[in-house]
Symmetry: C2
Subunit: 345 residues, 2 copies
Amino acid sequence: MSDYQNDLILKTIKGEKTERYPVWLMRQAGRILPEYRAVRSSLSGFKELVETPERAAEVTVQPVDILGVDAAIIFSDILVIPEAMGLPYQMIEKKGPWFENTINSMEDLAKVSDQIDVADRLAYVPEAIKLTKKELNGRVPLIGFCGAPWTIFCYMTEGEGSKTFSKAKRLLFQDPAMSHKLLDMITNVTIKYLKLQIEAGADIVQIFDSWSGILSPTEYAEFGMKYVSRICDAINEVPVTVFAKGAYYAREDLASLKCQTIGIDWNMDIEESRRLIGEDKTLQGNLDPCVLFADFSTIESKTKNMLNSFGNQRHIANLGHGVYPDTDPEKVKCFIETVKGFAKN
Amino acid sequence: MSDYQNDLILKTIKGEKTERYPVWLMRQAGRILPEYRAVRSSLSGFKELVETPERAAEVTVQPVDILGVDAAIIFSDILVIPEAMGLPYQMIEKKGPWFENTINSMEDLAKVSDQIDVADRLAYVPEAIKLTKKELNGRVPLIGFCGAPWTIFCYMTEGEGSKTFSKAKRLLFQDPAMSHKLLDMITNVTIKYLKLQIEAGADIVQIFDSWSGILSPTEYAEFGMKYVSRICDAINEVPVTVFAKGAYYAREDLASLKCQTIGIDWNMDIEESRRLIGEDKTLQGNLDPCVLFADFSTIESKTKNMLNSFGNQRHIANLGHGVYPDTDPEKVKCFIETVKGFAKN
């Protein structure tokens, strides 16, 4: 007997037989929903929403109520980690994150610390998780998350979003010792942070490696996967999902991680990914988020194509990346309903 | 007998035996060289340089003299095509290209035309090529280039650079008929443009598909490769190189293009790429441009690793993407000298 009215995603992660594929969307909490924008506009901005547990819980639950997804994901941001370590950020409207200070040398490491009381500095996240669990009241499981150390390193060194993150990447070559030290510190804090989310009630945790795709296979093995692997090894309490966007070249290696689910982006062929990753993992993804700009019948047919390529194996339906902010919620519903109406053989 | 003192790149493209690998760098003409910046600062900006044949020729020849590369590539910009079609752009310092008008609907297509006198509108490009050939005086071959239709489409619809080009991508799903029409128009003009470059003296032409990596395999086949293929079919005068950055998923299909060389980026494993593409093409690439931020001995060892993985097959040494503007020219020389000093077995 399950603790949840809908435990489709947990069953799928364990490889148990289910009548249909579970479905949720990356970035489902936020942006696309007018109900989210109403909450957001009542506050000073994105960060106040992240840091106010009652409101973060409210927008976390919205897509469960409004869209009918099979899992909630806590509303938060991967950049709470650098901030807790001593590097505050601002979220600038229509521009993205911006850090006044960045880490570019061994000396700069003094600006940050991994010897911090994570439970104290990030108390608002477990608090939001507890409120969300109460509000969900056993309807669907709740996903917690973090950025992968390499992706967090990108922002802490580059200081803002970038197409190439060449400042971050150059550090790997210019100062590998300092790079490893910072990655190690991020990893230490991230493990504590995930355990905190799990204690508060997260049923699954997902590691987002949004910028793995800009590294070469050699550098990803050395500076990326190594630290993701340490996190996976440390988390035994709940299932772990690793989404290494763009790291198509690492799919065989990802199979060796101590995690249950691997996210795949829309560039990755599903059948090839299954072949490379093997039968022992659940896959998650991978409709191109731009498909949701098509007409309803195209969305339906492209979603069905994706579902057919799952081949009745362990799969969680999702997009291959976060849903775009200007997507019509009715189109999102069309995607979700198509998954729900698709019977596995 | 060859027309060139150094015809290593042409021999390699034909699959002939050579004593060493030829080497050049994408974006070698410009940015990294103080000699380039001196020319550039004497003019009003990037576009004046592109449109002034004498100065464009001058900066094209600089890396041959200063860096000792085995080929020159004409200094120009892929966005001269939209401008010739009726959509002018500005190059904004530290920001990139910006279009006042963009194409977002069937009605917008009236803003552009493929029924133009390309030789007249883009006369400055063949003129720069002629001057460059004279200046090179048979030292090394000259590469001409264009953007692939999908990449040009990205800028004409999005209006500026973007991490996701989601406005461009959404059009493929929202209005496939209009998308195909615009891609067809770009292709028509591009073929004329490449023939013009070849008539003026380009010895090789390269098609840059900088944004192929953001499409899924299905969309790249339909909206990307289809038009690249049409260009390859139309160009029989000189060898063609196709560089579809990020389109790792299309490598088997790229092998079927009527082109001689396939560019590979730093994410793509060289041996796997050779296996997927087969023995009938020359490969070009693929050192991570960030490696040039490392110390000299790391640059040397990583370059040698790359050269060893070429396995004595048809290969042109290059970076896996354009050289970054703030790269030390001495580091670039280290890369070039390492390739030149590496004897094939």
